[in-house]
Symmetry: C2
Subunit: 276 residues, 2 copies
């Protein structure tokens, strides 16, 4: 997002998959951990250890429930002695919706979820971009360079003759800021709907199909139909489902169940890149 690289969760084998996909990690500065179950964190120590061997020097920030730092401390101490970069833990409270990260162009919010342990999703939002100035207008109205930043932000321009040129004549609208929400692991939980309303893309877990509704409820996971219902009610652009139970070797049933409720659904698959 905006030329940056973020990671959400880090299960066992993450670094192996990244190597297989030839993913460069020099722009990865922040990792967001949704909850402290092994399949979402066991890959962290290997990733950090390998970054050390690759002589990474940039700080690595990990946003997670506060217990994670305590659990990882003995491992980092023992296996990552002399690491050439800092690992900085940022404690987040999965139970509240709040800003957990912000830079010049991107904001990340937590989305409280409903799972067996405190768990939150993440909402990634691009900040509004500047308007695009029309080069011909700069020449035509002889706009001095120092005026351009303000015009990109919406100002009108007054010529030396006192003519006010409205901003719409000088600029075109920027790309709409993209919004992506990640919600896993969670039971069906309607409280997230207002928080993710209208996102361009929603990743929502779909561990089971509707015929396992009771099991989904007991394990605090969602069905494909429930994920699609959330997508529909939140009026999202696209739904990616994932986190399937191992019982579904063929995933077409999951996809069809979701598509019946929310047509623009795709199956989340390993080692696949999705545009938002």
């Amino acid at each position: 997002m905006r030329e940056k690289q973020f990671m959400i969760d880090c299960g066992e084998g993450t670094q192996i998959r990244m190597r297989q996909m030839n993913v460069k990690t020099n722009r990865l500065g922040h990792i967001f951990i949704s909850h402290l179950h092994g399949d979402h964190v066991f890959g962290l120590i290997g990733l950090i250890s390998s970054f050390g061997m690759l002589n990474r020097t940039a700080d690595l920030h990990i946003h997670a429930a506060p217990e994670l730092e305590k659990i990882m401390e003995p491992q980092l101490y023992f296996f990552c002695e002399g690491l050439p970069f800092k690992v900085i833990f940022h404690a987040l409270n999965p139970k509240v919706h709040e800003l957990v990260y912000e830079d010049r162009t991107v904001q990340v919010y937590s989305i409280p979820l409903k799972h067996r342990v405190p768990s939150c999703g993440f909402l990634f939002e691009e900040k509004p971009r500047d308007r695009h100035i029309i080069r011909e207008m700069i020449d035509f109205y002889k706009i001095p360079i120092w005026r351009i930043p303000k015009i990109k932000q919406g100002d009108n321009f007054e010529t030396e003759e006192g003519e006010v040129v409205p901003n719409e004549k000088l600029t075109t609208a920027p790309e709409k800021p993209k919004r992506f929400a990640y919600c896993s692991d969670t039971a069906y939980y309607e409280k997230i709907i207002p928080l993710i309303e209208g996102v361009d893309c929603l990743y929502h877990e779909a561990t089971f199909m509707d015929d396992e509704l009771v099991r989904a409820k007991n394990t605090q996971h969602s069905t494909a139909g429930q994920a699609a219902t959330i997508a529909l009610k939140a009026n999202v652009g696209k739904l990616i489902i994932g986190h399937y139970s191992a019982r579904y070797t063929n995933k077409s049933g999951l996809l069809n169940e979701a598509k019946a409720v929310f047509e623009n659904t795709v199956l989340g698959e390993d080692m696949t890149i999705y545009d938002i």
Copy 2:
């Protein structure tokens, strides 16, 4: 070995590979850890956690340097609460050659190695099997059933008429007990030769080729040529090399270098089964 399943080292992704290969783990009771570098232990917590979800009930024994238990304790406590089986750590001293495991049919010895941290290999030895009794001889000499166990162990048989039938007439020799040695990670270290003398199969690391001899020495790893020299001097049956540096995308150079010294060398590869 002898219908048992042992694991040596457990790097990140071990459980994933095992699932891909459809390896059943119900006979896996003992894991032996050569040394406490991440690439040899980071897969343990995920393996244990998954065993818990699969409702394993049999104890799992881990033989490793004593620090491992302390490092894993917070993770086991946090991620594996209510595990339906016991994880039992057995502290081993990588600096001495000693018996670290024994059952009715198999013995495992440690093999001190030379690496940047205390490190040991493992020698797996089948105990001698009973001789095979020749069924026709039981009938011919009317040997009572209660005499058979002793005859299988080498006793002669005396008939009611006082005739002594020598054991060689009653039995055939058992299969020779198999011996397998695993040596990784280690610099070239001749002190292991008497400990692994004549094993049927030796796994020896070969991180580099001979043109990186200095780097091998500095990082306390071996070259393919050195691994083969150990195999030759220890008069082993077969050599499997492995633990290659990522720089060798094509491994034929490593294999050729080893074969020039010790012909019966094979490349150790992921997800491959080798007979001993």
